[in-house]
């Protein structure tokens, strides 16, 4: 028994030393909660960093299963970038189980990417859970709007500089290059959606206010009656009637939503349900941040034609 315990302790110690030695030579380890933040962090950090996202693009980032494998990722992270605004509250449980003081709330290795964002849909009256899974700090899906990238990348840049100040110049250069590419793409996206300014759409989950506002589109209904709660037949009947009356032609659906229901509503109203990328990697072709916005702009423009 003692021999077994001795062997176990020695193995664990050796593994720990190996891992610690590896860390010293490695790139800056960054963990983000979502794939959008991963892509934006990669854009700033470039080759100097190694980024891993906790949620997959096709997952609902509101409600992630807290797996110990996520804790293992955060355990070795130099920097943790969170979305904030209560989208990824589960990250606190991950951090608590990871035993990594560098990324605790308030530590230098922690970035809340929402700092400085002009948040939409901040409740200005009392909210409670009769309203569903409502976000008391406002709508947290700001990364769907490419216009928010300058602010988000500033937050990421500041975080990276805190943990690796010697690379500040490189991070700033990477960021500027990315923003230049984004600006070019923005011109293209704005032109693609300009003919549809003022067009009304319905969404399955209320995660597109930033994107729609950016390109002048209007959300007039949601398939979910309340955030996070499935639709009731009464709500669907009202929605169908309203869509017919307003001649709504497009429903935006997310990969983790009830696409069959979106298709049913589309069928009832003569609209078209289209799958949009809720995050980088959510659908085929949405492999980078620019690709994802590109995919969404093309999909929406195509559907509105």
């Amino acid at each position: 028994m003692r021999i077994l315990a001795g062997l176990l302790s020695t193995s664990l110690l050796a593994l720990g030393l190996w891992a610690a030695g590896g860390e010293a030579a490695a790139k800056i380890r960054v963990v983000t909660t979502t794939t959008d933040l991963k892509a934006l962090t990669e854009a700033v950090g470039g080759d100097l960093i190694e980024v891993d996202a906790l949620a997959r693009g096709s997952q609902n980032a509101h409600d992630l299963e807290v797996r110990p494998s996520l804790m293992a990722k955060v355990r070795r992270a130099d920097l943790l970038v969170t979305n904030g605004l209560d989208l990824d509250q589960w990250a606190e449980i991950v951090v608590r189980g990871a035993n990594n003081p560098n990324v605790l709330f308030g530590a230098p290795g922690r970035v809340d990417a929402s700092a400085g964002i002009m948040v939409l849909e901040v409740p200005n009256t009392r909210v409670d859970r009769s309203m569903g899974d409502v976000h008391p700090f406002g709508n947290p899906h700001y990364t769907a709007d490419p216009g928010m990238a300058p602010v988000v990348t500033t937050n990421i840049l500041e975080g990276l500089v805190r943990v690796a100040p010697q690379h500040r110049a490189a991070f700033e250069r990477n960021r500027q290059e990315f923003l230049a590419r984004l600006a070019q793409a923005m011109t293209r996206w704005s032109a693609a959606l300009a003919p549809f300014k003022g067009a009304k759409v319905v969404v399955d989950h209320n995660m597109w206010p930033y994107f729609l506002t950016r390109f002048g589109l209007v959300q007039v209904g949601t398939i979910e009656e309340r955030p996070g709660i499935p639709a009731t037949p009464g709500h669907l009947a009202k929605l169908v009637a309203s869509m017919k009356e307003n001649k709504i032609r497009v429903i935006l659906a997310v990969p983790w939503g009830d696409y069959k229901l979106s298709e049913w509503v589309a069928q009832e109203t003569g609209a078209k349900a289209v799958l949009v990328a809720s995050a980088v990697g959510a659908v085929k072709g949405a492999d980078s941040y620019l690709d994802t916005i590109d995919y969404n702009v093309r999909t929406v423009a195509q559907a509105l034609k």
């Binding site: 610690a20 096709s58 035993n99 002009m118």
Partner: protein
């Protein structure tokens, strides 16, 4: 204020990298333009909102005035308002806002001036059962002494948050209907109160206080967090009806490896009602737990654990428990919950007990001496849960089954039980369960109160659980 923030952002955007290199000027200009557009969009939105609010205000003002408040209340409220306004210049206190009822979740969610610096959550877990008359009389059901009743098993008030930059704290009060000495009563107790030091070196954390002991898969979970209505019989027999809670210290370490590996050691008083009751740090209860986890492809995952607990019983005899556990979950692409969960756990006991000498020939004189013997006992359970629908209301429905088999820790004999259950959760914060459980024991001894006995027990179990306020996500 928001306009000011926007202007500040514009200013920052314009000033920060402005003086750097000449080639950055163009990029900066574009960025500034983007931010200006963003600001304009937001401004439009706020102007619309202000116009709407103005319209509403006009409508309200055009209505007849509301009846006056009770005369006596006016001066008192006004006085309070004045006092508060004087105490905090620039802040206007609305008496109606002060009078408004505030639920804990409202307190949790309000993050304005005067915010709470910790979170409050309340969990109410009510359970009930229907069973046979003899089981009721013998107090031999799943909830002894509360057969054929619906009662609060656990109403918890949880307070938790950061203490300072280095530590966080948890305090949990519990109210529950208990059955002791033939009497039922609702009792209040301090269930948990512990701090965790978060910033220790080498990936360690230290817990100190009264806490759930991390032994096995389920024994440290609050009752409402169990995957079934009741805990498996093997846990109840070896660790008691209550959650495995102890007062002491626990050190946890997570290895800095790509694979999750966690080791925990604990030293406690030893106050467990069943296995470790000596309650002295001079002969402490020492625990250990090792846990690892593997992703099996993109959608499956398995967690494996091993636990040990060694301490003295109330009779001052050594007792050792060994536990092994496993949990598997399968969550297909795009699903928000697991389609399939499988779990199982086994506990082995090596316990010294006092055995009194016997009068073998019936002459009134003890013929064999008192002696210490070793009781090696064990038990196990397996369970499965299926949540087969991907989305819509049906996705809130889950069904499961559990089988458990266990020996009794100090007596001879064993029991087994099996039963299916259904669960429905309209939201994350509300859950109902309905189950059936059949239990069979190989003897009646020990289940014979009030001149009745119960070897076979059939029960319909039901549960209603709701959460108010802060409720952290449950780990895997």
């Amino acid at each position: 204020m928001r306009a000011l923030v926007g202007i500040c952002l514009l200013a920052i955007g314009a000033l920060v990298p402005g003086a750097a290199a000449a080639q950055e000027t163009e990029a900066l200009r574009k960025e500034l333009e983007q931010m200006r557009k963003q600001f304009e969009t937001m401004k439009d939105g706020y102007e619309k909102a202000i116009n709407q609010l103005s319209d509403r205000l006009k409508t309200l003002e055009s209505r007849p005035a509301a009846p006056a408040a009770a005369p006596a209340a006016v001066p008192a409220t006004a006085s309070r308002e004045q006092t508060l306004s004087q105490a905090q210049p620039g802040i206007t206190i609305n008496p109606m806002e002060l009078a408004r009822p505030r639920e804990p979740y409202a307190l949790f969610e309000r993050r304005g001036p005067g915010q709470l610096l910790f979170d409050i959550g309340i969990v109410s877990d009510f359970v009930g059962n229907f069973t046979q008359r003899n089981v009721d009389k013998a107090n031999a059901g799943t909830f002894p002494g509360r057969e054929n009743r619906f009662f609060p098993r656990e109403v918890e008030v949880n307070l938790f948050g950061r203490i300072d930059p280095w530590a966080e704290g948890v305090v949990r009060f519990e109210f529950a209907e208990e059955f002791e000495d033939g009497q039922r009563a609702t009792e209040a107790a301090l269930a948990e109160a512990y701090l965790t030091l978060l910033t220790l070196p080498f990936g360690t954390q230290l817990r100190l206080g009264q806490m759930p002991v991390r032994f096995g898969l389920l024994s440290h979970l609050h009752r409402e967090a169990l995957p079934q209505i009741d805990p498996p019989n093997v846990l109840t027999r070896f660790l008691g009806e209550e959650q495995f809670r102890e007062t002491g210290v626990e050190l946890a370490w997570v290895a800095p490896l790509p694979v999750f590996l966690e080791g925990i050691v604990g030293v406690f008083n030893g106050d467990n009602e069943t296995s470790f009751g000596r309650g002295k740090l001079s002969r402490p209860l020492v625990t250990g737990h090792l846990r690892t986890f593997f992703e099996l492809g993109d959608f499956g995952a398995i967690q494996l654990g091993a636990s040990v607990a060694n301490g003295d019983t109330e009779e001052r005899k050594r007792n050792t428990l060994l536990g092994f556990d496993a949990k598997y979950r399968y969550k297909p692409e795009g699903w928000q919950h697991s389609l399939l969960t499988l779990l199982g756990e086994a506990i082995f006991q090596n316990r010294r007990v006092n055995v009194l000498g016997e009068d073998t020939d019936g002459d009134g004189v003890q013929d064999t001496p008192d002696e210490t013997r070793i009781r090696e006992r064990w038990g196990w359970y397996v369970g499965a849960e299926l949540q087969p629908f991907r989305s819509g209301w049906l996705s809130r429905l889950a069904g499961g089954f559990r089988y458990d088999w266990t020996e009794f820790p100090t007596q001879r004999g064993h029991e087994w039980s099996a039963g299916p259950y259904l669960a429905f959760s309209p939201s994350e914060f509300l859950r109902f369960r309905l189950g059936y459980k059949h239990t069979e024991r190989d003897k009646r001894d020990g289940f014979t109160d009030n001149e009745s006995s119960a070897r076979k027990v059939d029960e319909i179990l039901f549960q209603a659980t709701f959460f108010l306020g802060a409720h952290p996500a449950h780990p895997f």
